[in-house]
Each structure stands twice: as C-alpha cells, then as structure tokens.
Amino acid sequence: MTGSSSGGSPLHRAHPYTPLALAGALFLLAFAVSTPRAVGLVVVAGVVLAAVGGVLRHVLRPALVLALPTWGLLLVLHGLLGADPRVVVGPLTLSEPGLARALVLGGRIAAILVAFLTALATVSPPRLVEAMAARGAPFGLIFLLVSTLTLVPRMRARAAQVLAAQQCRGLRIGGSPLARLRALSPLVLPLVLGALAEVDEQVLALDARGAVIGGRRTVLHPPPDSALERVLRWGLLLGILAAYGAKLARGGA
C-alpha cells in the first residue's frame, strides 16, 4: 500500500480530478449493481483502469492482502452458514444464495480497493493540491485530504526508521507469532508519539508560513484540464445517476 507512483500513463497525465472521479464512479457503481456477474464486471473495469494507469502490480498485491481476510470471513458467514439449497464447490458444500451474496460483497470490496488504490497510485498529491487550490478550495480542506491520502506511505517510512533504530538496540522481529506480536510494542509507541510530536511542530511551521485553515493560496502550476476530461467526468456522473435510477426502478435490490 503505497502513495502515488511516478509514471507517464494517461491517468498520471490527466487532471487529478479525473482518476478520482473514475475511482468514485467505480465505487458507486459497485453498489448500484447487485448480481455476481455485474459486480464482477465492475471489478474487471477496476483492473483495466489500473492497467491503463500502468500500476497493476502496484495495486493488485495490496488489494489482495487487504481483501483476502474479508473474503474468507464472507465465505464462512454466507457460504458455509448460509441457507439452502446447497452447491458443491470442490471439497466444500456451500449455500447457493449465500455464495452469491458472498461473491457480490467480496466483489464490491475488491472493486473499491482496486479503484481507490489506482487513484492513490496515479494522483500526485502536489498536483491535487494545485488543482484544488485552482478551484478555490480552502487550505484546511486541501491539507486534510492530501494528508489523509499520504498518511500510509508517511507512516510506513517512519515505521521503517523506528524499526531500524529498535533493531540496532537489539530488537528481534522474527520467530513465533507471539514473539512478533511482542515486537510490535517497541514499534507502535515511538511511532505514535513521534507522529504526535511531528504534528505539533508541523502546525507551528505551517502557521508561521501563512497556512491558515480558511486561507486561499496562490496557484503556481495549475494542472491543465481538457474539455474531453470535463466531458468524461460529467458523463460518469450521469452514468452513475442512470445506474441508481435503474436500481430504484428495479425496486432497490
């Protein structure tokens, strides 16, 4: 799970709102459809998006790592413990409606993960800052959003530093699961306390540099936003509205 990757793909070159709009559209679409086949198509669309962005390998591994525990839980809850009739899948006898439910829910999770990890990997935070500032967004909102988007990579980098420092002081991170669990405490405490101390200093430094919650920034490098991209984003919005309209017409299932 990383932050944005460098690259020259169409998604990297696009206005930052475009990959975010595509990810948002896939997210909403995953909930607008309710059959395993339709949800599967949304997942495929997410994978195609990641491939177009040149970040497929960057995205699939963390998506799988995050999704697998939930898929396992869904299989047990809906597949094994679901209602009859049952269907034989390999060595397992599973609930047929439960399996369909598990596939829909698991597919939605996969679609959301692939879509948003793709957006994270292709949207450069500095370009997003400039894009938002160009649209008149207040600094507080920009900082909140971009800090959230970059939180995981920043915490990973900091955790690696803390871990290296603790290993220099004799911390062993291998061994049994219990030993690995015990090794977490010398990592977590300095990580959290360090992050809090950093936030204190960053607030002071940013305030001194004129960054206030409601302030409007001068935009130095506004990302170009082509008519085609604007049409695409409006098209996505209309498509989503149509999908939810169709869902309501079907009775909201």
Binding site: R127, V129, V146, G210, L220
Partner: protein
C-alpha cells in the same frame, strides 16, 4: 533600533503543567539584532522562542500572564528537525519554499521571486528542482531555512537550527544570521552550539529554570562559562570559545 517584541513580567505555563515553563520574563527584542538564547536543558529556551514569536499559547495551549506586545508583522520559525517542517504538499524545493508566500495569496510572480531570493540567501538554489522528500537532513535544513525566510519575516526564531548540518553547513547558517539582521530582521536563536552562535550574535540571553539570569552583549554575557574561563586562563583572545571543541581548536592554533 525598533522593538519587535516586548515582554513585561511574562509567565507561561503549558497545559497540565504544575509549574511555569517561563516565569517573570521582562525583555525587549530589537530589529537588526541576533540574540542567542542559552541555558541548560529544561531552562525554557524553546518555550521562550515560542512565546516571543507569538506561537504560545495561541497554538500550543497553556496560560500566559503578564504583558506581551508583538510588534513583528510576521514571525518565521526553524526547528532542529527539518522533516517536520515541510508542508508535504510540494513536489519540488522551489514550490516548498514558495509555499509560504503562496499561502499569503501574493501574486504568482511575487511568490516566485520571493522563493528565489530566499533560496539564494539560504544557499539552497542548487536544490530548487529536487524533490524535498529525497534530500539529506542537511540539505533539507537549508530548504527549511529558505522556506522560513520566503514570507519575509521581521522576526526569525531558530531552535537548534544546525543540529542536522555538517560543520561547514552550520558555519554557513550562523554566518547568514548577521546578514539577515542587517536587513532589519530580529533573529533569536536557541542552541547549545554557543561557539558558533557567539560568533553570530550581538546579544545573549541566559535562561535558567524559566527565568532570565543574564542578558547583555554576547562576549560579556557568555564568557562566564567554565570553558571560557579555561580559555581565558590559557591566554585566548576574545571572543572566548564556549565549548570544548571550540577550545581545542583554538588551542591547536
């Protein structure tokens, strides 16, 4: 010289603290002077910087009693840890340095000119196109100094600013301080590196347990330390060295 800060009988206590970090401070800081703030660990030197620059209690919380007049239009701050002072929102050093003036909403050309001037002053112009996240600690500290200078503060406070710098970098940083002061900036620097600070500062304030115990010209205020006494006994000319490496270097000459 005009004052930028006037404190009269100022006492400051951090939230939840049993005793004040600063007690009964009366002091005036002037434009065009470089003042070094010295004292043992826990003396309140860092807190003094925050109170003098108006960051405490506004951003830190806590209670301030007494009278404080902040006459500086803008205060800049530099900490020992450069990575906590980055905005995290910029892709290049130039943009990071420009962040302050851009946050003030100045015209684009003014922002870029201010950034170039600040980078030149801090010796960071050769880093302009680099990614701030890929710089060494020493390079980053130059960028942070440039970033603090870019919004044109009339009071600059520095808390152990050379902690990440190599000796040559530290010499350059301290050599910059009188140059800034000559343009009318009041510079307040807290540091244990008294040898270098004494060469740059015209005034020294010594704190102990939150109180000012000495305030005067650097040469006369700081030369009461043990190292200075040894240097005096060894026949070193003024300004006397104030730390052991300085004394060794002087005696070696």
């Amino acid at each position: 010289m005009k004052a930028v800060v006037r404190l009269r009988d100022v006492t400051f206590t951090y939230p939840g603290a049993a005793r004040p970090a600063l007690a009964g401070l009366t002091v005036e800081l002037l434009r065009g002077e470089v003042a070094v703030v010295a004292g043992p660990a826990g003396a309140g030197t860092s807190t003094f910087l925050l109170v003098a620059a108006g960051f405490a209690p506004r951003l830190t919380g806590g209670k301030l009693t007494g009278e404080r007049e902040l006459l500086a239009a803008r205060a800049g701050i530099v900490f020992a840890t450069p990575w906590t002072q980055l905005s995290g929102l910029c892709a290049s050093v130039r943009d990071e340095v420009a962040f302050g003036p851009a946050s003030l909403g100045l015209p684009r050309e003014t922002v870029l000119t201010a950034a170039e001037r600040a980078m030149r002053r801090a010796g960071a112009e050769h880093l302009a196109e680099r990614d701030p996240a890929a710089l060494s600690g020493g390079e980053l500290q130059r960028v942070v100094v440039a970033a603090a200078l870019a919004p044109a503060p009339d009071l600059l406070v520095l808390d152990d600013p050379a902690a990440e710098l190599d000796p040559a970098g530290a010499d350059e940083l301290y050599a910059l301080l009188p140059v800034l002061a000559a343009t009318g900036v009041a510079v307040l620097v807290a540091t244990p590196d008294l040898e270098r600070a004494a060469r740059a500062a015209t005034r020294a304030l010594v704190l102990d347990a939150g109180r000012i115990v000495a305030d005067g010209e650097t040469a006369t205020t700081l030369d009461g330390t043990d190292v200075a006494e040894i240097a005096r006994a060894a026949g070193c000319p003024v300004p006397l060295p104030l730390d052991v490496p300085g004394l060794v270097g002087r005696l070696a000459r």
